[in-house]
Amino acid sequence: MTETEPTPSKIAFQKLSASDDRSQFDCGNLELNEYLKKYARQNQDLSLGITYTAKREHEQTILGFYTLSSGQILFQDVPKELTKRLPRYPLPIARIGRLARDLSTKGTGMGELLLMDAFQRVLNVSEAMGIYGIEVVAKDAGAKRFYERYGFQELLDDPLHLFLSLKAIRNAFVSP
């Protein structure tokens, strides 16, 4: 508890750009590494999802990334009376696709910061786009436990398919 601890450098989140060096990134999962290296830009150019990166301010190393896209929920065999009461139907949602941090950041809470940045971005557009929830498909039981800490809940009969309401997120972000 010294009085002048150096302030840790801040983290900056940015849209993935063509000049980003993606070759060094390693989250421990080959498929996610490959996605960042080969497909993230392509998906972005085709409007299939936007990838955001985390870097320390004034540095170039990618410490983590996630992909955001939009989607919609349709109900099967649900009476019209019910869907008519909804503000919009099909219901628009936001989707967090791949989310991963570089192994070098292990234990520093980088995964959490990436998730919060995704939440913040969705919050910013949620009203204009009528988004009420965020979806994520967890890769495995470990990833699922990570998401559940922040309130994500599994869908009936579909245990890796998780949702979180935007109301809970909004309440967390407005609290002082």
């Binding site: 840790p8 801040k10 983290i11 900056a12 989140f13 299939l48 301010e57 896209s69 939009s70 989607g71 919609q72 929920i73 349709l74 109900f75 099967q76 065999d77 649900v78 019910l82 099909p90 949602i93 809470g109 959490e112 910061l113 998730l115 919060m116 940045d117 939440f119 913040q120 009420y132 929830g133 979806e135 800490r149 922040y150 309130g151 809940q153 869908l155 009936l156 009969d157 579909d158 949702f163 979180l164 309401s165 935007l166 109301k167 809970a168 997120i169 309440n171 967390a172 972000f173 609290s175």
Partner: protein, 94 residues
């Protein structure tokens, strides 16, 4: 969603195919009353639309729909979420 492109066609797509494939496409195109390239384009666009819709649309059963709607009413953030938003604020420059 699939409409034959009305606007000006400025792009070209070359593809190699076997004689057998081409004959089959030609037969089907004749049946549909279209020339071969109009038929191939319409069929490919239909497939593309189906895939694009599928990747952004999630279909829920009735039970899942009820659960999903009640889940969207959750107001209360978890302790971890509350703490995480605070840490996010101090780790970034907004």
């Amino acid at each position: 969603m699939t409409t034959l492109e009305q606007s000006k066609k400025e792009e070209k797509l070359d593809l190699l195919l076997t004689t057998e494939s081409k004959q089959r496409l030609q037969q089907a195109a004749t049946l549909a009353g279209l020339d071969l390239s109009a038929f191939a384009l319409a069929a490919a666009l239909e497939k593309a639309d189906a895939l694009l819709t599928e990747q952004d649309t999630r279909v829920l059963s009735r039970k899942q729909a009820e659960q999903f709607l009640s889940l969207l009413d959750t107001q209360e953030p978890t302790e971890a979420l509350l703490n995480a938003t605070k840490r996010y604020r101090s780790s970034t420059n907004d």
